[in-house]
């Protein structure tokens, strides 16, 4: 059964200039490196990148920065990547920092049809600038709003032809959230499993959220 498994060419054809790309991974781990290569090969540029971080210089997700495909970044931390920091300081990349927990909730809202979430994270700091403050039961909260993308790049440990996904250890990280929050969700899976081989209760991302799985 082929199901949602697609050729490299079909995956490369998903990318266009100016897209918003959401990418799973944390500190170079659990990153969909094969999909990043497809994105590089597509030639797409002027991208907005939503990701926890940008990895190390010219490594994993950092390759998108190195090859100057990214105009704008939404992330919680980019300090590991000297190239990203230099490009931000030079004004060549615009950046929006979001506290990591709030970033995860914004991805979750984007993937769950929710209009936003209230958190105390960032209250009393510059993070509350320009955001709505909502009062509930006498307490103030910051309203964090949804993030969505045109294309999501997901790294999974296992994928079946229906798009059901499972993850391993800390490589799970942001991937299940990214998988839900885009119009088109692409998957880079270490292991291509048969239907039902993962196990009903071991699946983390149901296939309904997945559009295409990169063929091996």
């Amino acid at each position: 059964m082929t199901g949602k498994i697609r050729s490299r060419d079909e995956i490369v054809a998903q990318f266009k200039d100016g897209q918003t790309i959401m990418c799973g991974g944390f500190a170079n781990r659990g990153v969909p490196n094969n999909l990043i290569q497809c994105l590089l090969d597509s030639g797409a540029k002027h991208l907005t990148l939503i990701s926890n971080d940008t990895g190390d210089a010219d490594l994993t997700i950092g390759r998108l920065v190195h090859h100057r495909r990214v105009d704008r970044i939404v992330a919680s931390h980019v300090g590991m990547n000297t190239e990203t920091v230099a490009l931000i300081e030079a004004g060549e990349i615009a950046v929006t920092f979001v506290p990591q927990g709030s970033l995860m909730e914004r991805l979750r809202c984007g993937g769950s049809g929710l209009g936003g979430v209230l958190t105390k994270t960032g209250l009393g700091t510059i993070m509350q600038e320009g955001k709505q403050i909502i009062r509930v039961d006498g307490e103030d909260y910051i309203l964090e709003t949804p993030l969505r993308a045109d294309v999501a790049l997901v790294r999974a440990r296992m994928a079946d032809p229906l798009g059901n996904l499972a993850y391993r250890g800390t490589s799970r990280n942001t991937n299940p959230l990214v998988a839900k929050a885009a119009d088109v969700t692409l998957v880079d899976a270490d292991l291509l499993m048969e239907v039902d081989e993962i196990g009903i209760d071991r699946i983390v991302t149901p296939g309904v959220f997945v559009d295409m799985i990169l063929a091996h």
Binding site: S76, P99, G169, T170
Partner: protein
């Protein structure tokens, strides 16, 4: 013991068996070597049960800490996504978080993510100081050039307001309390006056001042 391990060992004394503790990157990651084996450590990317760094055949990509280092999960470990990880952080179920600091204010304000004009992002620090019931700062008392880090008010962008509980340094431990900064532990050979000179706010000395292992 070197300064970093001295600080980590004193921090570890705050934890008891059954606690789940988040450790920030850098110095805090040395704490597990000194803590009760019943303490479990949380890494923000999504796991409880962080064990020692892994080497050789046992090294796998699928278990890495907040610094990206590969580790062995401990017996009893569980993995989850980063949203669940921060749900745990904000839920109040963590015992504590251990973080570094650039500046701490008399009222417990913390600045640890940005210097003016130099911002690389806060990672999980803002969520951690908001969600963890206890915020322990592990840092050297002064900056490398000798500038004071414990101030009447922070001048760098804040991570959180009035969030710090304990400041563990190589010279002693200072608690943030309602009546001000209280010196609770001191290293042998250092006087409270020595420490008071290296911080900006007034320093209260605890009645039961303890000696901190050097």
């Amino acid at each position: 013991m070197d300064i970093r391990n001295r600080i980590a060992k004193r921090v570890a004394a705050y934890f008891k068996s059954g606690d789940v503790v988040n450790l920030g990157i850098g110095m805090p990651s040395l704490c597990p070597a000194y803590s009760d084996p019943g303490v479990m450590f949380h890494t923000e990317n999504g796991l409880i049960g962080v064990g020692p760094l892994s080497t050789g055949l046992r090294q796998v990509e699928s278990f890495t800490n907040a610094s990206g280092q590969q580790f062995l999960p401990l017996s009893g470990a569980s993995a989850f996504d980063s949203a669940e990880s921060f749900a745990i952080v904000r839920s109040g179920r963590l015992a504590a978080t251990v973080l570094g600091a650039l500046q701490v204010a008399e009222n417990g304000d913390l600045a640890n993510w940005a210097r003016p004009g130099k911002m690389v992002g806060m990672g999980g620090a803002m969520d951690l100081v908001t969600g963890a019931p206890k915020v322990i700062i592990a840092m050297e008392l002064c900056a490398r050039g000798g500038e004071k880090k414990i101030l009447k008010a922070c001048t760098f962008p804040l991570t959180g307001r009035a969030c710090v509980d304990h400041i563990v340094t190589e010279q002693g431990v200072i608690d943030v309390t309602a009546r001000g900064l209280v010196l609770t532990d001191i290293v042998d050979g250092v006087t409270p006056q020595d420490i008071a000179r290296q911080i900006e706010p007034e320093l209260i000395v605890a009645d039961d001042l303890r000696i901190m292992e050097a």
